[in-house]
Amino acid sequence: MDLYAIIFYLFAVITLGSATIVVFSKNVVYSAFALLFALFGVAGLYVLLMADFLAITQLLVYVGGILVLVLFGVMLTTKVFDVQMKTKTIQMVPAVAILGLLSGTIVGVFWSTDWYISENPIDVAKTAPQIGNMLLTTYLLPFEIASVVLLVALIGAAMIARRERKG
């Protein structure tokens, strides 16, 4: 097993282990903190896939932003420390059916897809300049629409603020 594989399994264990804690922890605050390591592990996997810009974005937006949002969301919850999360299994039959369907779909897609494997992996080094070029030429319209989407979100945030002041 070479170093690459060791690092991959390290990040995979970090991601899956933390994700397990997120799902099974009875304390919602622990769940939120475990999410930090799950998201960080995914960023490490992106680095291993040579998607360095995606990894940085993952760190900036998910670890730095979304996670803070989730934590504040948890802190806003009433009686966050007293609530006992129910993690026992209910609705066994529908759950198994849906799980089987979902994982069957994923595995099916995984096997039936003709994965593109670059013959020259060094090609994808320095992804940020290429993303910048594509974003401002080929994908210009989605790029500008993204700003409108962000504008809508900003206006929505301002609406929350106004409601807070009234109450």
């Binding site: 504040f72 401002l136 790029f143």
Partner: protein
């Protein structure tokens, strides 16, 4: 290409190990003569007044939402800045449109008073 990340991995490894070793060394080597005052929660020198387990104001949440939105804007700026020279004036104009649209939102949020604390 992954060679570039070796310093980062080393940095993380050293950081984690240093944190663990220092705390554990303290625990093993330090003398333990606890008193009631020493065992109170450390609050940067302040007397702890009440439980920390209380609900936060929704104002924090709003700040976090605004932070993420402008965070994403910065993420979009970064690839543009890296390939700024090859994109030329066209890239400059399109990015200006992008930033102006977001600036409108910023002005709206400011005028609505969402940036004020109370």
């Amino acid at each position: 290409m992954l060679d570039n990340y070796i310093p980062i991995f080393l940095m993380i490894a050293v950081g984690v190990l240093f944190g663990i070793i220092m705390v554990k060394l303290n625990e093993w080597l330090g003398p333990k003569r606890p008193s009631e005052e020493k065992l109170t929660t450390y609050e940067s020198g302040m007397e702890p007044v009440r439980t920390a387990r209380e609900r936060f104001s929704v104002k924090f949440y709003l700040v976090a939402v605004l932070f993420i939105l402008f965070d994403i804007e910065v993420v979009f700026l970064y690839p543009w800045a890296v390939s700024f020279k090859s994109l030329g004036w066209l890239g400059f104009v399109t990015m200006t449109v992008f930033v102006v649209i977001l600036f409108l939102g910023f002005v709206y949020v400011w005028r609505k008073g969402a940036l004020e604390w109370d």
